[in-house]
Amino acid sequence: MQKEMIEARTPPIMTVGALAWIKGNLFNTATNCLVTLVIAYGLFALIPPLIQWAFIEAVWTGESSADCTADGACWAFVNARLDQFIYGFYPPEHTWRVDIFFVQLAVVLAWLMIPAIPGKKYGLVYGLVAMPITSWIVLSGGMLGLTPVDTHDWGGLMVTLVLAMYGMLASLPIGVLLALGRRSEMPVVRTFCTVYIELWRGVPLITVLFMASVMLPLFVPEEIVFDKLIRAMIGMVMFQSAYMAEVVRGGLQAIPKGQQEACDSLGMGYWKSMLLVVLPQAVRMVIPGIVNTFIALFKDTSLVLIIGLFDLLSIVQAGLNDPVWLGTSTEGYIFAALVFWIFCFGMSRYSQSLENKRQEH
């Protein structure tokens, strides 16, 4: 008879830890075994050469594509032109103004996004009202002793962010108004909003940009030259507000009618009930949709390259045509894709965390 207690033995190694997980998830059936092996082989065949190309054999500095003699990536191209990719043709002695724009944008975003920072209401007002004005003054100058810098010299990441920022800030309020208008009981307002939304949703953004860039100058008298960047910006805002309106309308429809009726019985007027009761619930409900529209807007900014504006993508493309740097297109496009991905992924993660928080409450 066993008199002493048997010491606890470690469990069989196939039932705990990484091995068990692998056995239970990757090799539990014959099909899964096959799939796992195929994918593992695929990764094995892809990743080492990729790392070899992108890091080990890559050339990081150089004067021209002739310096990129190794088989690896020619990051020297991106390195040499990084300033241009960020600031475009902005005069080098004034790029600190663009930095101020970036910092302001980052600070306002952090203010609004990080829960620990107080004063969200002021942050929102500042972001919606003051930031567009101060950004424009800092970037285009001509006031407060700042040298004017023509929008024609703007370019790169800065133009992408300018277009995205103004597009987002303007399309959300306009979209909300349009959504409310479409559900209004006033026939003129309702018809106008419906026609507006359906008209803009019915045409592709490229058409809008072409109209703004090619047709508009022919319609207005020759004495008036609209700034091309502003033309594109107005076109994008009008286009995106129509989409935003439909997203918000989806949220409005999901709010039970009782909410509105409760407001009515409390004697709240239309705007009060909308602003205090209906819209906060509706907008919160469609956050994924709104962020989705923002991400689409952010990526759509690169379409301005077809009207000759240098956003991040088109300035990379212009750089590829420098005779000194021919043959570096893969590196250029990877860089542009990476920057776009970082921004879009960031936006989508933030919206996910917002949703999670909403579910906790």
Partner: protein
């Protein structure tokens, strides 16, 4: 809420009005002189013709032409504002007065000359569609390309020219279509096609994008005529003349051996043609509304045609395009400019 609305729309209105600029109507020359710079429409990026370097400085043949024009009109080659334009918006930009001259590798055709309200001011580069083949193929003439797979950019005139050429010669081909010229180079490089076709000026640039440029050759055949030149608006003959003669002066300077380096010395030359060219003697700037030394400024600040060609697309550039048709008429090419007198 109304207040908030005003707050939201006010900046938008301010922005709009800030974007409105008064553009003086009237003669282009006066407009250019008044604003103090030349608005020049260029390609958003074409190797050797117009591309921004890492400092944002534009360079290329089309760019140098605008610099020459600015040197003649304003006395300073750097007083140019480059407006990068895509193929689709180039003509509108000129028609609407956004630019003063369009110098953007535009082919001179009857339709464009006759129906756009624009005038071609001459030919700055004689281009033509050509073929690039892999050396391993052992092909020496385009006539031997029967049955070949051809990489080509979609939606270009090259696509139509190619179909015409193969049909007239009774040959078959298999098109491999890409939407960018870079794509065609990548397709050719990876062996998806035996032949790449495009304008010859671009073939040389595309060749440089290959992993091993040495293994590809450009065939001698040119299957289409693509004379590229600057355009101006119709109805302003003075400006038309200025643009036309800025180009002619560059070509004449090459013919007479005047370069940016020796322009000062040449002013005291005994040759009457050179004297007239440099505005020491002869017609000078009269009749065009320009300074007497305008042509001297063009040559001094930018150079003659050969200098512009060699630094941007010729021996002095990575492209290494040969002069070919773009050599002077006296040297086997067809470059010919009317005399300055």
């Amino acid at each position: 809420m109304l207040k908030a609305l005003v707050k939201l729309t006010l900046p938008a209105l301010l922005l709009t009005s800030a974007g409105l600029q008064a553009n003086q109507a009237g003669s282009t020359l006066e407009t250019v002189k008044e604003k103090g710079f030349l608005s020049c429409g260029v390609n958003t990026g074409l190797p050797g013709f117009s591309s921004p370097d890492d400092k944002g400085k534009w360079s290329g043949m089309d760019v140098d032409f605008c610099r020459g024009l600015a040197a003649g009109v304003l006395g300073d080659a750097n007083k140019v504002k480059y407006i990068p334009l895509t193929a689709k918006e180039r003509f509108t930009a000129l028609q609407s007065g956004e630019i003063d001259v369009l110098s953007r590798n535009t082919t001179w055709t009857l339709t464009r000359d006759a129906s756009l309200g624009l005038n071609f001011a001459g030919v700055s580069y004689y281009d033509g569609q050509g073929f690039m083949v892999s050396k391993d193929l052992g092909v020496t003439s385009a006539k031997q390309l029967d049955g070949a797979a051809v990489c080509i950019q979609s939606g270009t005139t090259s696509e139509l020219n190619l179909a015409d050429y193969f049909r007239t010669n009774g040959m078959k081909y298999q098109p491999v279509v890409f939407d960018t010229s870079d794509g065609t180079a990548k397709g050719f490089d990876s062996g998806r096609c035996d032949v790449l076709t495009s304008d010859q000026s671009q073939l040389y640039a595309l060749r440089l994008r290959l992993s091993n440029p040495g293994k590809a050759v450009v065939l001698p055949e040119v299957i289409s005529k693509e004379p590229l030149g600057p355009l101006v608006r119709q109805g302003d003959d003075q400006w038309f003349n200025i643009v036309k003669w800025s180009l002619s002066v560059m070509i004449n300077a090459e013919e007479l051996g005047v370069t940016s380096a020796n322009a000062d010395k040449m002013r005291s030359s005994a040759n009457p043609s050179i004297k007239r060219l440099l505005g020491v003697d002869g017609p000078k700037g009269k009749g065009m509304g320009l300074n007497d030394d305008w042509s001297y400024q063009v040559i001094k600040q930018v150079g003659n045609y050969s200098e512009v060609f060699e630094t941007n697309v010729g021996e002095g550039s990575p492209l290494k395009i040969e002069r070919g048709l773009n050599a002077l008429w006296s040297q086997g090419g067809i470059l010919y400019a009317p005399p300055v007198r």
